[in-house]
Symmetry: C2
Subunit: 127 residues, 2 copies
Amino acid sequence: MEVINIYKCLCDEQRLRILNLLKDGPLCVCHLMEILGSDQVKISKQLRYMKGMGLIAGERVAQWMVYRVAETDSPLLEENLKCLQDCAAERLGFARDSAHRKSLLAKLKSEPNACSSAILPFLQATS
Amino acid sequence: MEVINIYKCLCDEQRLRILNLLKDGPLCVCHLMEILGSDQVKISKQLRYMKGMGLIAGERVAQWMVYRVAETDSPLLEENLKCLQDCAAERLGFARDSAHRKSLLAKLKSEPNACSSAILPFLQATS
DNA sequence: ACAGCATATACCCTTATCAGCATATAAGCC
DNA sequence: GGCTTATATGCTGATAAGGGTATATGCTGT
């Protein structure tokens, strides 16, 4: 994880929101779409960008892709994700996103369907 | 100072080196040129970029321009400059740059010339 | 006013990002 | 094998960044 590449990922609002969500645990593309209220292509491209930079990793689970913050993460990234909680949370709506993530995961647990039963084990790995 | 703009400034190696130097005190363009071993236009453009983003401020002193990290700095920028000391110092040659800065300022003090006598008071304001 | 130094800006070109739209791949189900 | 869902990629156009060269501006000293 190159210093410059970390910052390149951090200088986009949508990527910051994605990282803020993933830092609490893995998510799949469809969840990110729902939480961010964005479309599939945009999300996929941002994920590819960050994967190329080494910040995140993706793993296929049946027809879904589960993304997580890369294991080999640097203190720099960690520090920033932490610091952003205080510096940018309001500005970027982190609280709203995180709450949305929580309720979405709760719904997945209480109303099982194909998706939830396949990927829930993977989501719980970290969060 | 917008979060995104801070990161935009941080995602270039030369700008990181400049910020690392300025965090220890103001410098003028000619010093940055010498320390970074870069040409005037490149430095000037990076300075303008960062000034536009609100990270640094410049002040004219006679025919020189003295740049410093903007007063209204955010905890995010401060944290990063601190963290970079550990995370990127070696990779980006911060130690070399800082040593170069130190010796250059020492020379300015011991061998007064037009430049040094004009701007030294401004440099000492912070460092 | 002129010359000289320090710095900034304009212009051109190349490359990187980003969005929007269409299409391809991959897995699961019938 | 077709159909559906989930995700990725390709293509195009727009905008931003970054390097290089030339030129403009601002200040100083004569």
